[in-house]
Amino acid sequence: MTVKFTMTINGKEVQGESEDRTLLVQYLREHLGLTGTHVGCDTTQCGCCTVHVDGLPMKSCTMLTAQADGKNITTIEGLAKDGELHPMQAAFRENHALQCGFCTPGMVMSSIGIVDRHKGETLDEKTVRHELEGNICRCTGYHNIVKAVLSASEVMNKG
């Protein structure tokens, strides 16, 4: 069986059809070619597949495409505006917050969620480390990722 759906992906309306069992991450990667969203563990633990659904970070490997019907989806490809990196992306680059880069899209999407949840607050290292618990990086030891999130939060709170 297939389901039809309409959703907004990175600001564009997408009308599509998929098998009932197609996962959102499969649809994004295999049907739309949005391969920035990664599949790491495929068991809801590593966070590589994190996208924003109506502004909230969620794991797209544990969501059916059908469940995203009518929703507003933002992937890593939708963050940069007019050729300019999102402050979180810029902070990851500036702070060398990636090595192999596989976890990075999910890290960036989750980290924006952290700053959003603490809007107007000064983030501390403990909070960032704790709230990154749903994202696993096997290269960096997290140190520079945490620095990047703290630095981006200052920029995002100003803007």
Partner: protein, 265 residues
């Protein structure tokens, strides 16, 4: 995943109708357990009925003596609700410690309880706070709800609509999480409401349970030292690669002690 038919209900009645028409249906709330189960081909329902479009199942109501959480309310919303933070801080803390931020944006209280995973957090809250499960048919008391590993008193097609918790005088929740999954190796919710003391344990056994001996001791003296020397038998407890049954029994005492300390802080 095996194939299934997906449908989305917009009301409790419609969900029931869809359920009645299907051969081997499953309700889906946030899907945080169901989807991983399907992905591993551990279940093969003919139909998955999505409850996410049912507005009447989302919301929080806090009165002078009761906190009511509707079944499809996500953990993140419970954790961030200022009325719950004030009325039962231990409950907000419990919700804020489930999984990770992304899981908390999708997982719901109704889904967690209907599944009765032995390592889920909410069963400890229902047991430890004397919650009541409201379904489309009836009310089920905490002590009658959990029946075993992934087994509850819910009948086929019966749906949780909300859960209500009497506001206690004091409550505390402590868990020892699995460092990878954040599921409970052991979690303990303690509460005191007048002379009624409850100790609800999750993670340790096949389903959530109470510890009457600790409750009696705490009723006489609601302090961490009252439970420090009480240990539960490990015979029926879970034993797996994460923790042996002996270790889980030990953790029940330690978590209970810390939960009481938190409740009285």
């Amino acid at each position: 995943m095996y194939e299934f038919n997906y449908s989305k209900a917009s009301s409790v009645d419609e969900a029931k109708t869809l359920h009645g028409k299907s051969e081997d249906p499953k309700f889906m709330s946030g899907g945080m357990t169901l989807l991983p189960t399907l992905k591993q081909r551990l279940a093969q329902p003919s139909d998955v009925i999505d409850l996410a479009g049912i507005g009447e199942l989302v919301g929080i109501d806090v009165t002078a003596d009761t906190v009511t959480i509707k079944a499809m309310t996500p953990h993140a919303v419970v954790a961030a609700n200022p009325d719950i933070q004030k009325a039962i801080p231990a409950l907000a803390k419990l919700a804020g410690g489930i999984g990770d931020p992304m899981v908390r944006n999708r997982g719901t209280i109704g889904g967690s309880l209907a599944n009765s995973d032995p390592a889920a957090d909410y069963p400890a809250a229902v047991m430890g706070l004397n919650g009541t499960i409201h379904t489309d048919k009836r009310e089920i008391a905490a002590d009658d709800f959990f029946e075993g590993l992934f087994e509850t008193a819910l009948e086929e097609g019966e749906m949780i609509t909300s859960v209500s918790f009497p506001i206690p005088d004091k409550a505390g929740y402590m868990k020892f999480p699995n460092p990878a999954s954040r599921y409970c190796i052991v979690g303990v919710m303690v509460s005191q409401k007048g002379s009624d003391v409850r100790v609800g344990v999750t993670g340790a056994g096949g389903c959530a349970f109470r510890v009457p001996e600790m409750e009696t001791a705490l009723a006489a003296n609601f302090a961490p030292e009252a439970v420090a020397e009480i240990s539960i038998p490990d015979g029926d407890l879970n034993s797996d690669i994460h923790a042996s049954s002996e270790y889980r029994a030990h953790l029940v005492t330690v978590m209970a002690k810390r939960a009481v300390a938190e409740a009285t802080a």
